[in-house]
C-alpha cells in the first residue's frame, strides 16, 4: 500500500500491476512477521445493477497491487473484446468469472475476493444486484462484518439500495458504508453527494441502521478509494474507503464478551480413556474448572481440559476450534450446546422467526422441512406467515406463503426442543437454514426472534396405560394402512373391502375417509396446496392417536405429495405405516369419473384437481401396490390382506 497515490489515472499499458512491498526484498522475515498478526475483515458490496460493484472490487484489488502482470494482460485483452468501458480497463471483468456472467455482463453469483493492506486482510463477497439473486446477497451478508452499499451518484437511493440496506440490517450487519459512486460523472459535486446522504440517512434511521459512514468515490477513477481526500473532492474530510474498512470493528470481538457457548460438532472417542467434545466456540470464553450446562438435556459438569493438537489450553475464546473434556460422564452429543452454567441458553420447540425464502418452490405451510441450527438438524414445520415484508416500502403484507426472495415472519415448530438464542444475540444459535426433504435443496434462511411462550407451557401428560397396553388388550398390532392414489382410483372401495375382511377376523379397525373428514374435522380447509398439506397432517395425527388406542387404521386420501406421506410415516413407530399405492392410470380414473369431478376439472370449474392442474407424486417405494386395471376391488383387498397378515 505504500506506493498508492490518491487517484492514479487508469492506463491500459499495465504499469500499475502488482508491485511488491520494498520490505519483501529487504527483510522477508520482518515482512512476514508484520503480516502474521493482522486481523481479518469480511465485508460485502451490494447495490443496484450497474452501480459499479464489480468495478469497485476490481479497483480494490488493483490498488492493493493484487493483480499480476499476466492477469492484467488478460484483463486488457478482455476489456477490448467484451469490456464496457471503451478503451479503458473494465475492472468488472476481474470478478465476473463465469461464462454466463461475461456473456450477459452481469454478476450472477457471490464471488469471494481477497486483498490485504498494511493493517488488515480482507475477504470481500461481491454480491449480485439483480432482484432475482437476493438470496445470493443474503448468502454474502451472513458472514460479513460490514456492508458497502453502492449508490450511483446520478441516480441516488433506489429500490435496490433500500432492499439491500434492509437485508443487511436483517442479517445483523451493524457497519454500513454508503459509497456514493461515479462521482466523476456528476463533476464531483458536493451538493449531489449531500442530497443522497441526507436521503439515505432518513431511510436508514427508519429501519434502525445507526452506524452509517458515507464516502464519495469513483471506483472507475479511484477517487477516495485508497487515500482521501482526492484532489477532486477537497470538500470531503472523512476517511478513504480502505482507511475506513481498516478501522471497522470485527464482530468476533463482541461475541467474546457474551456468556460461553459451544455447539457440539463431534464426540471424539479415540480410546476408552478419552471422551472429548469438539466444536467451534461461538460465544464467550472458557477455562478449565468452569461450570457448564449441556442444553437441552440440562446436565451439568465442569470443564476438565481444553485439548488441541498443539497442547492443552488455559483458555479458549469465541472463534476458536477446540475439544473440551468434562469432569463428569454426562450425556452430551452432536447438536447439544455446552454453555456457561450460570447463564445457559434456552431450549424450546416453538419460535417466531424471520425467513428469507430462497427457492423457486414456495413455502408450503405445514410441510416438514429439515431445520439446521448450529450443529443440530431437526424436522420443522412453518405456519402460514404472519406477514410478508415489502422490503421496498417496509410495509407488512398479508401472505399465504413465501415465494422466491420473499422475506416474511412466521411461527416455526420443531419436532423436539433445540438450544437457541435470538439472532440478535447470537448469529450461531439464532440463524438457521431450511432444507427440502425431497430435493435436499437449501430453501430458506431463518433468524429466530424469540420462543413462543406456549412452548414452555404445553407438556406431555404422562399416562399410565401405554399404547402397548391398548394393543395387547385388542390382541393385535396397530397399523396405519395408508391408501394413496388418484381420485377415482378405487381407494375407498378397496379400503372398505379390506376393513370388512379384518372385521370378520375380529380385528379392531377404523376407516378414515377423505370425503368424510372434510365434513367435520377438516371442514375449514380448501384444496390449495397448503390446505391439502394441513388436511393430511391432521389426518396423520388422528391416525396416530388411533394407533395409540390400539386400532388398525385404514385411510383413503389422494394424499398427492410424497413429503406429507413421509411426514405421517415419520410420526409413527417403524413398521406401523403401510403405504398402499392404488395404481390406476389417469385415463382410466378419468373415464370412470365416479363423482363427475374430472369433468368439472376439465371444464375449469374445479381448481387444483389432482392429475389435472395439480400434481400427483407416485410413491417411490410403497409397501404394497395394487393395480385396479388388472384386479377387481375384491381381488385387490384379498391381495392386501395376504401381504399384511404375515405381519400379524
Amino acid at each position: 500500500m505504500a506506493e498508492l497515490t490518491a487517484s492514479p489515472t487508469v492506463k491500459s499499458n499495465g504499469n500499475t500491476a502488482y508491485r511488491p512491498d520494498a520490505l519483501i526484498a529487504e527483510d522477508i522475515e520482518g515482512y512476514l512477521a508484520q503480516h502474521q498478526d493482522k486481523s481479518l475483515l469480511r465485508f460485502i458490496t451490494c447495490g443496484s445493477v450497474d452501480d459499479g460493484k464489480s468495478t469497485l472490487i476490481g479497483r480494490l484489488l488493483y490498488d492493493s497491487k493484487m493483480i499480476f502482470e499476466d492477469q492484467l494482460a488478460a484483463l486488457e485483452s478482455d476489456s477490448k473484446k467484451v469490456g464496457t468501458q471503451g478503451q479503458d480497463l473494465d475492472f468488472a471483468l476481474l470478478v465476473d468469472g463465469l461464462a454466463a456472467e461475461r456473456e450477459q455482463g452481469i454478476t450472477i453469483d457471490v464471488a469471494y475476493r481477497f486483498f490485504a493492506t498494511e493493517k488488515r486482510k480482507f475477504i470481500v463477497a461481491d454480491t449480485p444486484g439483480h432482484e432475482q439473486y437476493t438470496r445470493n446477497m443474503v448468502t454474502g451478508a451472513s458472514t460479513a462484518d460490514a456492508a458497502v452499499i453502492l449508490v450511483d451518484a446520478r441516480k441516488g437511493v433506489l429500490v435496490q439500495t433500500r432492499r439491500h440496506s434492509f437485508i443487511a440490517k436483517l442479517l445483523g450487519i451493524r457497519n454500513i458504508v454508503l459509497a456514493v459512486n461515479k462521482m466523476d460523472l456528476v463533476d464531483f459535486d458536493q451538493a449531489a453527494f449531500d442530497a443522497i446522504v441526507a436521503d439515505y440517512r432518513t431511510f436508514a434511521s427508519d429501519i434502525g441502521l445507526e452506524d452509517v459512514t458515507a464516502i464519495p468515490i469513483s471506483g472507475f477513477k479511484g477517487d477516495n478509494i485508497a487515500a482521501a481526500p482526492s484532489s477532486e473532492t477537497p470538500w470531503y474530510s472523512g476517511p478513504s474507503l480502505i482507511e475506513h474498512l481498516e478501522s471497522v470493528p470485527i464482530a468476533n470481538r463482541e461475541a467474546q464478551s457474551r456468556p460461553f457457548r459451544m455447539p457440539v460438532q463431534w464426540v471424539n472417542r479415540p480410546n476408552l480413556d478419552f471422551r472429548g467434545f469438539a466444536g467451534l466456540v461461538s460465544d464467550g470464553r472458557v477455562r478449565p474448572g468452569d461450570a457448564v450446562r449441556v442444553v437441552p438435556s440440562g446436565a451439568t459438569s465442569t470443564i476438565k481440559s481444553i485439548e488441541t493438537f498443539d497442547g492443552s489450553l488455559d483458555e479458549a475464546v469465541a472463534g476458536q476450534a477446540v475439544t473440551l473434556t468434562l469432569a463428569d460422564e454426562i450425556d452430551c452429543s452432536r447438536g447439544d450446546v455446552i454453555a456457561a452454567a450460570e447463564a445457559p441458553v434456552e431450549a424450546a420447540d416453538q419460535f417466531e422467526a424471520s425467513l428469507v425464502w430462497m427457492s423457486e418452490d414456495a413455502l408450503k405451510p405445514g410441510r416438514g422441512y429439515w431445520l439446521k441450527l448450529g450443529t443440530r438438524t431437526v424436522t420443522a414445520t412453518i405456519q402460514e406467515p404472519k406477514y410478508e415484508i415489502n422490503v421496498n416500502t417496509l410495509e407488512h403484507l398479508a401472505a399465504k406463503t413465501l415465494d422466491l426472495n420473499a422475506i416474511g415472519v412466521a411461527e416455526v415448530t420443531t419436532d423436539r426442543p433445540i438450544a437457541f438464542e435470538s439472532y440478535a444475540d447470537s448469529k450461531t444459535l439464532g440463524g438457521f437454514i431450511l432444507i427440502d426433504k425431497e430435493t435436499n435443496a437449501t430453501v430458506a434462511a431463518g433468524m429466530l426472534n424469540f420462543s413462543l411462550r406456549r412452548a414452555q407451557n404445553v407438556h406431555w401428560q404422562a399416562t399410565d396405560i401405554a399404547r402397548t397396553d391398548h394393543a395387547k388388550l385388542k390382541n393385535q398390532q396397530p397399523r396405519v394402512l395408508w391408501f394413496t392414489g388418484l381420485s377415482g382410483s378405487g381407494k375407498s372401495t378397496i379400503a372398505n373391502e379390506v376393513e370388512k375382511r379384518l372385521a370378520l377376523m375380529n380385528r379392531h379397525t377404523f376407516l378414515l375417509d377423505g370425503d368424510n373428514v372434510r365434513h367435520g374435522l377438516n371442514k375449514d380447509l380448501g384444496f390449495t396446496e397448503a390446505d391439502r398439506i394441513e388436511n393430511i397432517r391432521r389426518v396423520g395425527e388422528v391416525a396416530k392417536l388411533m394407533t395409540d388406542a390400539g386400532l388398525i387404521v385404514l385411510t383413503a386420501f389422494i394424499s398427492p405429495f410424497r413429503a406429507e406421506r413421509r411426514m405421517v410415516r415419520d410420526m409413527l413407530p417403524d413398521g406401523e405405516f403401510i403405504e398402499i399405492f392404488v395404481d390406476t392410470p389417469l385415463e382410466v380414473a378419468e373415464e370412470r369419473d365416479v363423482k363427475g369431478l374430472y369433468k368439472k376439472a376439465r371444464e375449469g370449474t374445479l381448481k387444483n384437481f389432482t392429475g389435472i392442474d395439480s400434481p400427483y407424486e407416485e410413491p417411490e417405494a410403497p409397501e404394497i401396490t395394487v393395480n385396479t386395471v388388472a384386479m377387481t376391488a375384491a381381488e385387490a383387498a384379498e391381495y392386501i390382506l395376504q401381504q399384511i397378515m404375515p405381519l400379524k
Partner: protein, 304 residues
C-alpha cells in the same frame, strides 16, 4: 479484554469447523491428497480437527504415474505419520493404453485425472471428497461454494448452487450424488505459505531450490526425474544440464515447468513468490484451454 484472533487463527478455525461438519454428516468421506503444498496444509488441519484421534477418513491420491519421485516419497510418509490409510488410484484404461503427456496432450489430464478421479470415487463409493482448492486460484473457483454439490455424473452446475449461509453447511444429497468440500476456500497463496512456516509443515523438497538434472523441451525447463522413462516415451535421450531450480506448483513431472532459483529456505521461497509479478497458475497450461473458461468447463465435466 478481548483476544484478537489473527487472520491465520480465524482461517484455521474455519477450516477445522468445515472438516468436522463434513465428517459428522457424510457417510463415507475421503480426502483428496495430491502431495502439493495445499494438500499438506489441508492434511495438517485434518490432524488438528480430530486430535487426539487420527482423521477418520482415508487419503486418496489419483495417480497419473508421472509424478515426481519425491512426491511419492512424501505421500507414503505423510499418510503414515497422520495414522491414515492411503488409497492410490490409477485409471486402468489410461494405464492399458499407455496414455502419457508426450503423445496425448490434454487427453493425458482428462484420462488420468478427471476420469481417474470419477472412477476412484465411484469405485470406493465415497459420497464426500475434500479438496484443497482455494478461491483465489482461479475465477470460477471464486464463485464456488465450500460445499460444492455434484450430480450423479460428478457435474458441477454453477447456476444451481445451494446458498451457503453463516457456517451452516447443507451436506444432504440423494443416492449417487456427491459433494466436494473445500476447507481452504478462504485461504490465499500467501496464507498457505505463512501457515506452512508458522506450523513447520513438511512439504516436498522440490519446492526449494537445489542443483537438479534438467532439460529443455518445447520452450520450457523440465526436470529429468526418470531419465530412462523419458527416453522411452520421447524417443530420444534429452540433453541433461545441472541447474539450480525449484517448482512453484507440483504435478506430472513432464508437464510441470521448473524455475531457475536460488531460494533454498522457506523464507526465501516466500520471498521469491511475493517478488514475482506473475500469478501462481500462469505456467499451468490446462487453465488456458477453452478461452479462459477452461477450468469452469472442466469442473462441469467433473474435474476437481
Amino acid at each position: 479484554m478481548a483476544t484478537q484472533l489473527t487472520h491465520l487463527q480465524r482461517l484455521e478455525s474455519e477450516s477445522i469447523h468445515i472438516l468436522r461438519e463434513t465428517v459428522a454428516e457424510a457417510e463415507k468421506p475421503v480426502m483428496m491428497y495430491s502431495v502439493g503444498k495445499d494438500s499438506a496444509v489441508m492434511l495438517h488441519l485434518a490432524r488438528k480437527a480430530f486430535y487426539p484421534a487420527p482423521p477418520p477418513f482415508p487419503l486418496l491420491h489419483v495417480d497419473t504415474t508421472w509424478k515426481f519421485r519425491a512426491m511419492y516419497d512424501l505421500r507414503e510418509r505423510s499418510a503414515q505419520e497422520a495414522g491414515m490409510d492411503l488409497l492410490v488410484w490409477q485409471n486402468p484404461e489410461a494405464k492399458e493404453r499407455g496414455i502419457n503427456p508426450f503423445d496425448h496432450g490434454p487427453l493425458h489430464t482428462d484420462m488420468w485425472k478427471t476420469q481417474g478421479l470419477k472412477q476412484a470415487l465411484d469405485h470406493y463409493g465415497f459420497d464426500v471428497a475434500f479438496g484443497g482448492a482455494r478461491r483465489d486460484e482461479e475465477k470460477s473457483r471464486a464463485k464456488e461454494r465450500i460445499f460444492s454439490f455434484r450430480t450423479t455424473s460428478h457435474g458441477w452446475d454453477p447456476k444451481r448452487q445451494r446458498p451457503e449461509l453463516w457456517n451452516l453447511y447443507n451436506a444432504r444429497k440423494s443416492k449417487g450424488e456427491s459433494i466436494r468440500v473445500f476447507p481452504l476456500s478462504n485461504w490465499t497463496e500467501l496464507d498457505i505459505w505463512q501457515y506452512i512456516m508458522a506450523e513447520q509443515i513438511e512439504i516436498v523438497p522440490l519446492y526449494f531450490a537445489a542443483p537438479r538434472p534438467t532439460f529443455e523441451w518445447e520452450g520450457g525447463l523440465f526436470m529429468a526425474d526418470d531419465i530412462d522413462r523419458l527416453e522411452q516415451v520421447m524417443g530420444h535421450r534429452p540433453e541433461i544440464t545441472q541447474r539450480s531450480v525449484r517448482f512453484r506448483t507440483l504435478g506430472c513431472f513432464p508437464l510441470t515447468g521448473a524455475v531457475e532459483s536460488e531460494a533454498a529456505t522457506l523464507a526465501e521461497v516466500v520471498q521469491e513468490m511475493l517478488l514475482t509479478t506473475t500469478s501462481e497458475r500462469q505456467g499451468r497450461v490446462i487453465d488456458q484451454d477453452e478461452g479462459g473458461a477452461g477450468m469452469e468447463k472442466k469442473k462441469q465435466e467433473g474435474y476437481f
